[in-house]
Symmetry: C2
Subunit: 158 residues, 2 copies
């Protein structure tokens, strides 16, 4: 599985994320455990979209043994804390991405080569706001995924 990612803009804030998570946990009466710290580190190290299974294997390779159950449980907290967002590429497996401290992005996906290219979606915010307003909704977030055939896929097919 090939994966290309264009990062969006400059890295803005990488440092306080841990603090944000701790504050979130405290507010919920939860604990900041070694495992949660390790998982957060692993997530912060990821630039691109990732899967729970990937985290599990990479952490295992790094001798940071954490069970899958804990990874799933922690990802749920990270989602709630809005540190991570779900990126739904296919229905089979959940894909996640670090969302905090980044501008909103969409994903350009080539199903044939599994390439995922990120692109900024600032221009869509007005559209989102307008549609929410039209229906009396309070905007929370959005996802924009474009499917297309990559140059590489066209070449492969001939």
């Amino acid at each position: 599985m090939q994966q290309t990612t264009t990062t969006t803009g400059d890295e803005q804030l990488i440092l306080p994320v841990c603090a944000i998570f701790r504050r979130f946990l405290k507010k919920q009466g939860l604990k900041f455990t070694t495992e949660r710290a390790l998982i957060l580190d692993a997530v912060l190290a990821k630039e691109a979209v990732f899967e729970a299974e990937q985290l599990f294997e990479e952490m295992r390779a790094a001798e940071h043994r954490v069970s899958k159950a804990t990874i799933y449980r922690t990802l749920k907290h990270l989602l709630e804390a809005k540190i991570v967002k779900e990126v739904l590429i296919d229905s089979r497996q959940a894909h996640y991405q670090l969302s905090i401290g980044r501008k909103p992005t969409g994903h350009l996906v080539c199903p044939e080569t599994d390439q995922i290219i990120e692109f900024p979606t600032d221009e869509l915010q007005p559209v989102v706001d307008r549609i929410c307003k039209e229906h009396g909704f309070e905007p929370v977030g959005f996802r924009f995924i474009i499917f297309g055939v990559s140059p590489e896929a066209r070449e492969a097919d001939g």
Copy 2:
């Protein structure tokens, strides 16, 4: 699970879909079976987003016994024929929607009440085309999902 849907524009073509499917199947050397016809009928009757499980139960209720395996297999063909499209709301379960003969739509989702409101996305096509062109991709389709808190949910929370 409550579900509201605003249909987009006028119904344009509902009749030739069956013919389109038959042509598609023939081209692939596949057969137009009773079960496939029943499933297509059930799909055409759906205005909103649906799940495989829903089709299964509704067909069962209507005494149109078709196995789940066949439903999944047929949905795959309908996707390939571009008669149906996937609408990914969550990663747990696949959601589908009739796509042929309809203008492209996005979905405004309230996670708290499970409301799904459809809205037209014609205005996004230029954006899609531009982003594809920028990366040398050939556009195939796109998904636009907005998450927001519905008036009903706000009321319920207080």
